[in-house]
């Protein structure tokens, strides 16, 4: 029974990785930009929500302000990294995005200190019990919301005009421009989506673990990158599978081998996959990187 419980926990954790992995995959798949500021936005969203909750605001406005903070942060990153350097080598915007990660984390330390803060419970101890398996309602709601968000992003990409533009940019930015796609308008939309997903993932993390801190994004961000690669870079469906897989691998390797083996299992899987199967689970083998 404990084993089934671990699977449930793994899927819940995976839900958070899914959102981060989708955010990374949008940036990589379309812009070829490994956006290292994503863990910072993840953390910023959660910390801002915590701040307003702690100062007595109700849940909904706090969450909205936190998500807005994530979106604004993401747009600032776009303005100073991608837009300035889209024609340069791919490593260069990466430098600035890491600098933004450092910036966000240290701004939070300056404002709120480096202690871990307690995040209030979303709903007072309210669990579903199926036999001996416990599923937290908060966890369930967050997993469901993650799924809905991913479906919404997929629909945005597949069905709308903006989505068509985004996919065209992913194919070839220059051609998209010639064919009349307003690249300078669409790219910020992409960053808005990324910021929203990431900040929301931060909220889910805070609800599930009932804590926030300036460094909460680091580990999760790295696992999100691993999830993205395992699923196939640039593939939203792959990011979902990869996220859940990483969540399961993590929880099960704690269960079977102990906490110190987590990194070896997760990143060993990533390394082996990259070397022998670099396109990931859902990536196409025809193109070096799968387009959406």
């Amino acid at each position: 029974m404990l084993f089934v419980q671990q699977i449930v926990n793994g899927l819940m954790l995976g839900g958070i990785y899914v959102l981060i992995a989708v955010a990374f995959t949008l940036a990589i798949g379309i812009l070829n930009f490994l956006n290292f500021s994503i863990p910072g936005i993840f953390m910023l969203g959660a910390v801002v929500i915590w701040h307003f909750l702690a100062s007595g605001w109700p849940w909904l406005p706090s969450i909205l302000v936190g998500l807005a903070a994530g979106v604004v942060a993401s747009l600032i990153v776009e303005r100073f990294t991608y837009r300035l350097m889209k024609d340069s080598e791919p490593e260069i915007p990466l430098v600035s995005s890491v600098a933004f990660l450092v910036l966000f984390e240290n701004l939070v330390i300056v404002k709120w200190g480096s202690d871990q803060q307690r995040f209030p419970q979303f709903m007072a101890d309210f669990n579903i019990r199926i036999g001996e398996i416990i599923i937290g309602i908060g966890q369930l709601v967050s997993l469901a919301t993650a799924v809905i968000l991913v479906i919404a992003v997929t629909l945005l990409l597949k069905k709308t005009k903006v989505g068509r533009g985004i996919r065209a940019i992913g194919e070839n930015q220059e051609t998209a421009r010639i064919l009349g796609v307003q690249v300078h308008r669409i790219v910020p939309i992409l960053f808005i989506v990324t910021g929203l997903l990431t900040a929301f993932a931060g909220l889910l993390f805070a609800i599930n673990y009932q804590q926030v801190s300036w460094s909460m994004g680091d580990e999760v961000g790295l696992k999100g990158i691993a999830a993205m690669v395992i699923g196939g870079m640039g593939n939203v469906g792959g990011a979902v599978i990869g996220g859940l897989l990483i969540g399961l691998t993590e929880v099960l390797s704690i269960y079977f081998f102990g906490a110190n083996m987590v990194d070896i299992s997760v990143y060993g899987l990533l390394l082996v996959l990259l070397i022998f199967w670099p396109h990931g689970i859902l990536g196409s083998t025809a193109a070096p990187r799968e387009k959406l």
Binding site: L34, S96, L103, N106, I109, N260, G268, L274, I275, P288
Partner: protein, 275 residues
């Protein structure tokens, strides 16, 4: 020199060595995010040998560098099957795995950390760093650095012109491993205490930042980058907790104005240097 200045310049010397390690890879177009892992190998091998077999420090450092180099060489073949962003991610995973293995190795203290009994003085570390800098300076004047630039700029064309792309890539990767091992060993013998957590991904990213901020086109770039990254946060000490905020903003602005890094070939040419 006061203790503070000495500590600062020791750190600078170590950072110069690891910055050159990042430069070797990046000059060949490889973004190696596993450098911290190779540093860890060098640090632990040197610490283990000097602790248990009473090896002198300089032999320990050579052994540490050699161990990191050999492991890099063995791993280069599978890892260099990947390119570009995939290579960055494969090396990132590699670094995490090395760190994870060290976290589980009881013989070197696992997560509790590992004491290093022999201490290296500032003079020793600075001397080693100067030797490394001199060697890489010499290399940067040879054909090898042209091969690196050629492979980075266009692998197919360099292949057509007779550069052995694969060998050059493996050489760059292993040389990066060697220098990282040396840098890591120096680190261990200076701080006399090692923890696997010290060699995390953030360290690898920072090393890549030294190189990219300084500029990857010339041999001087990574050294300038290492100096900026080591000294600037210290110069900003007065502003205390704001210093990393200011520092991050400075990096963002520099990259916005000079996306090729602070020191470029053009800049050197303008001042009469041979780039």
């Amino acid at each position: 020199m006061s203790g503070y200045t000495e500590a600062l310049f020791t750190l600078l010397a170590i950072n110069c060595v690891v910055a050159l390690s990042g430069y070797m890879s990046l000059a060949a177009g490889q973004l190696n995010l596993g450098i911290a892992g190779f540093m860890a190998i060098g640090a632990y091998v040197s610490a283990f040998l000097t602790n248990n077999y009473d090896l002198p420090i300089f032999l320990g450092i050579i052994a540490g560098g050699a161990a990191a180099c050999v492991i890099a060489l063995l791993l280069a073949v599978p890892v260099l099957r990947t390119h570009g962003i995939y290579l960055a991610l494969a090396t990132f995973a590699l670094g995490q795995v090395i760190q994870g293995i060290l976290l589980n190795m009881e013989v070197v203290g696992a997560a509790a950390g590992y004491g290093v009994s022999k201490h290296a003085s500032f003079g020793f570390i600075a001397g080693t760093a100067l030797i490394v800098i001199a060697v890489i300076f010499y290399l940067s004047k040879t054909r090898f650095s042209m091969y690196l630039t050629a492979v980075k700029s266009d692998a197919i064309v360099s292949d057509l012109f007779g550069v052995n792309v694969r060998v050059t890539m493996v050489q760059a990767f292993s040389l990066g491993g060697l220098l990282a091992g040396i840098g890591g060993a120096l680190y261990g013998h200076y701080y006399n205490y090692l923890e696997p957590q010290n060699f995390n991904i953030l360290l690898s990213i920072y090393i890549a930042l030294y190189v990219l901020l300084g500029g990857v086109q010339t041999f001087y770039g990574p050294l300038v980058g290492a100096a900026v990254f080591t000294l600037l946060p210290e110069l900003l000490r007065d502003s205390d907790q704001w210093r990393f905020v200011v520092f991050a903003i400075a990096v963002i602005l520099v990259m916005a104005v000079r996306p090729q890094g602070l020191i470029t070939s053009d800049l050197l040419r303008r001042f009469g240097g041979r780039a």
